[in-house]
Symmetry: C2
Subunit: 371 residues, 2 copies
Amino acid sequence: MDKKDMEREFYMTGGDGKTSYARNSSLQKKASDTAKHITLETLQQLYKETRPKSLGIADLGCSSGPNTLSTITDFIKTVQVAHHREIPIQPLPEFSIFLNDLPGNDFNFIFKSLPDFHIELKRDNNNGDCPSVFIAAYPGSFYGRLFPENTIHFVYASHSLHWLSKVPTALYDEQGKSINKGCVSICSLSSEAVSKAYCSQFKEDFSIFLRCRSKEMVSAGRMVLIILGREGPDHVDRGNSFFWELLSRSIADLVAQGETEEEKLDSYDMHFYAPSADEIEGEVDKEGSFELERLEMLEVKKDKGNTEGDISYGKAVAKTVRAVQESMLVQHFGEKILDKLFDTYCRMVDDELAKEDIRPITFVVVLRKKL
Amino acid sequence: MDKKDMEREFYMTGGDGKTSYARNSSLQKKASDTAKHITLETLQQLYKETRPKSLGIADLGCSSGPNTLSTITDFIKTVQVAHHREIPIQPLPEFSIFLNDLPGNDFNFIFKSLPDFHIELKRDNNNGDCPSVFIAAYPGSFYGRLFPENTIHFVYASHSLHWLSKVPTALYDEQGKSINKGCVSICSLSSEAVSKAYCSQFKEDFSIFLRCRSKEMVSAGRMVLIILGREGPDHVDRGNSFFWELLSRSIADLVAQGETEEEKLDSYDMHFYAPSADEIEGEVDKEGSFELERLEMLEVKKDKGNTEGDISYGKAVAKTVRAVQESMLVQHFGEKILDKLFDTYCRMVDDELAKEDIRPITFVVVLRKKL
């Protein structure tokens, strides 16, 4: 699947139904919340330094759910606080909010909450000093140009950049067959060629990402990137990669039961990569437009007793993985196997967690556009 | 229904199904096509005068159909021609395209064609001197601010401004009952108070529209407004108002057959007004930010033998009216009556046309932002 197809066919499950991303992104929200103080500190710092009359904020990979607009509300409030502390006698800046995701994202769902968003904004400001907020959607791949030159002050990309622009071409042999049989991503069965292919794709994509943003951002502009990653150089660990290992095993289970074909599993490859801190830092240095201000590793705490609210951790992971992978899985395997697949998957995650901890880690990366 | 409700509940029928606006807006397209030379001349003139590096173009009330992106393609090509004629050695400007409609509009449907739009753009330019085009959706009512200050060079609003921000409050008596019983808009039964209420609402709305745009547009920026209107001071004629007269009669027909209640018809009021040239000009002068460069009256020709393609004129009008009014009619009358209603309506239009011509007119208004 090439980049153009990815633009058409990859999206978080839309709407607000039972399996929607809107209702199944609590794990992402938790990670973003853990990183929130860094995000908001960075935004305040940026505002102090640049004090623009019109502040351009982009959310790349905004998806479609309660997280989307609540993030924007946090940003606005934070800037208001910084403004009142720094330059209270001047009028508030205008806010230009640029929401971005692939064209298949359910933007209609976000738009329908906009009238309420504006009502709440007014109410929160006691109908008084209410800032002008202009919200726009810019659909497209962030591995290409999205915005006019010099328009963006702050870029926020949460849980976006571990999605590659495409499955690496090097993953296919001369006959077009996947060389990563039995696995949906890098897993314990994968050869070194597989991890090399994924790693190269990440480097190429991330570098293009930085180059595009550097054109769109103003000097001293900041980016906060929240990326699923891995702790060390090993590609296979009991972190994020382990969740895909278990997804591969769950599909293999269905193959064993005759619910789907082995060939289907062999030919299913995800466009996902969890980079290491060194890989991220290396690309930032090489591309050269940004300074690395901060790179922190977060480990999102599991709720007590390994449950998330009323459900088991396995269930929470299963719901999340389903919401982010459903669009691709349905195209490849058909809709029929999904319920069973994720029942199996949920059980496997819980069983594994009972044996030994699973520790998916998340990086928070703060970049500053050089002058 | 107030302005906020209108934002939520009024939209052209989405998607590309049988009754969608996408497939039932050929009459609007015809009018816009008739006005196209004026639109494109104005855009060229603007480009010659301002020659911006980044050109902001807004389509207000862009709706969701084949007209939406084909209009944008026309704009880009026109500017390219003007550019190559005027300043061929300089690089092409960046295009910032701002698509606007109410939040209920089916923006997802537009976004899904964006990957193809960009592929065609490249192909049309032989992959050579292809301009950067950034397409964004800004959902919201154009009777309020939509964009940051000083960002827009060219505003295009086709078939948008005859939709008022709300049904005029003055249309309801102290008990909240409509004073325009038996009619869905100004019709032959309506009292003078009714036309006065609608006219005042138009003036208030249009004036707010001009004030908001004047903040958002650069000096010498241009607006092209394509508005359904009426020829003289009389509110009731055999023009646009006659189509609503016939819609009222069609609903009355269903009431007579017991398909819906008289009270439902009495309480259904549209937020539509067809202004006269004098009313438009008067508000432009009064608001003061824009110069009226052009105001032309168009009469869209009916196809030979009063048919549109393979269908009768009545059928074409019925399909169009259904696509633009369905969202409101369904909320008020329920979905059940729609097919029958528009069968009746189609017949009435054809019968009336056989008796005497119906001449809906359209204004093309060109405004220039004062320096």
